[in-house]
Symmetry: C2
Subunit: 195 residues, 2 copies
């Protein structure tokens, strides 16, 4: 069900603007937040831009390690996505706990960088930060390069999305605001017009 | 039907990762291309990052004027969106023509910057480029600030999207690849989990 994605196809996982979960680990402590704002900037090498606010605990962790993972949640994870986007890992009442423990979120270890990846997502990208201090400071924008990618082959295989309705719970989420997500529930094939 | 959007709400138009049409005008000649890769980077002031490849005619026009508009197409414009993303304005067979003329695309003039905006879209943002030569060169990424925004009030009003199925043809497009678009056809409300 989970299979590697060729790096040349990794940016396609984010081509249509889904909301992602950013996962990190630093000093043995994991964290997880939702991020509506990300986009590919290059297919080869696979590079992504993602906004991580200065106020977040994730930002502290990324500053320490220069690594983050992007996990693609699906309709079945709408509550999880909204929850980890609403609560800071810094506010955890029990220092030994993290958001994974607190909300019973299962994870597995990324093959390239050892980052915690979220079970039940449909795509996973382990990434190294390309240091760009100016854009990180001025726009909270991190440029990262994907070093490992994988997908749930029921909806993404051979470099292509298959959102044909066979697995409606596995379609991507797109945050409209205040916990309301659009779901990429249907598709339409564009045709080149005569001109 | 078309109404101004407060600048504090402008970034919400792009929060869920829709594909956009980038429109420009320079030296009296208009152009229009599709861009799957854009994201907000700030709500206030409303700032957006958008990828414009070095090979595009749009890039030449933006370099001359420092301005571009982002138009949000909807399901009804899937063919138009794929078409203007597949054909370069530079290749136009008749120098007096542009893509608007060639494909019969109606436009109106933006209120702040005079940019050509596409009729039938559901959101429009006129933007000024914030000069960032390094990220433009290294990542084809332009940071822009929105100076005017408007929306089709049937689907976006008072700073909120209403994708409740009353106007399915007006839902946003999200490019999966090769002209296949996901449509933000349904919504789901996330709830904060007990933890």
């Amino acid at each position: 069900m989970r299979a590697p994605v060729q790096l040349a196809h990794a940016s396609r996982l984010l081509n249509h603007g889904p909301t992602v979960l950013v996962s990190t680990i630093a000093g043995g402590r994991r964290n997880l937040m939702a991020a509506a704002w990300s986009m590919p900037v290059e297919f080869t090498p696979p590079r992504i831009a993602v906004v991580v606010d200065k106020n977040t605990y994730t930002r502290e962790q990324v500053a320490k390690t220069g690594m983050l993972a992007l996990n693609l949640p699906c309709r079945a994870l709408a509550d999880l996505t909204y929850t980890v986007g609403s609560v800071s890992g810094r506010d955890d009442p029990m220092p030994a706990e993290d958001k994974f423990d607190r909300y019973g979120i299962a994870s597995f270890t990324g093959p390239a960088l050892g980052l915690p990846l979220v079970e039940g997502c449909i795509g996973w990208l382990e990434c190294r930060v390309i240091a760009e201090p100016h854009t990180e400071q001025a726009y909270d924008t991190f440029f990262v390069e994907v070093v490992s990618a994988s997908s749930d082959t029921r909806v993404f295989a051979n470099g292509r999305w298959m959102m044909d309705g066979r697995h409606p719970e596995l379609h991507t989420l797109h945050h409209l605001g205040a916990g309301l997500f659009a779901v990429a529930a249907e598709t339409v094939q564009g045709r080149v017009m005569a001109g």
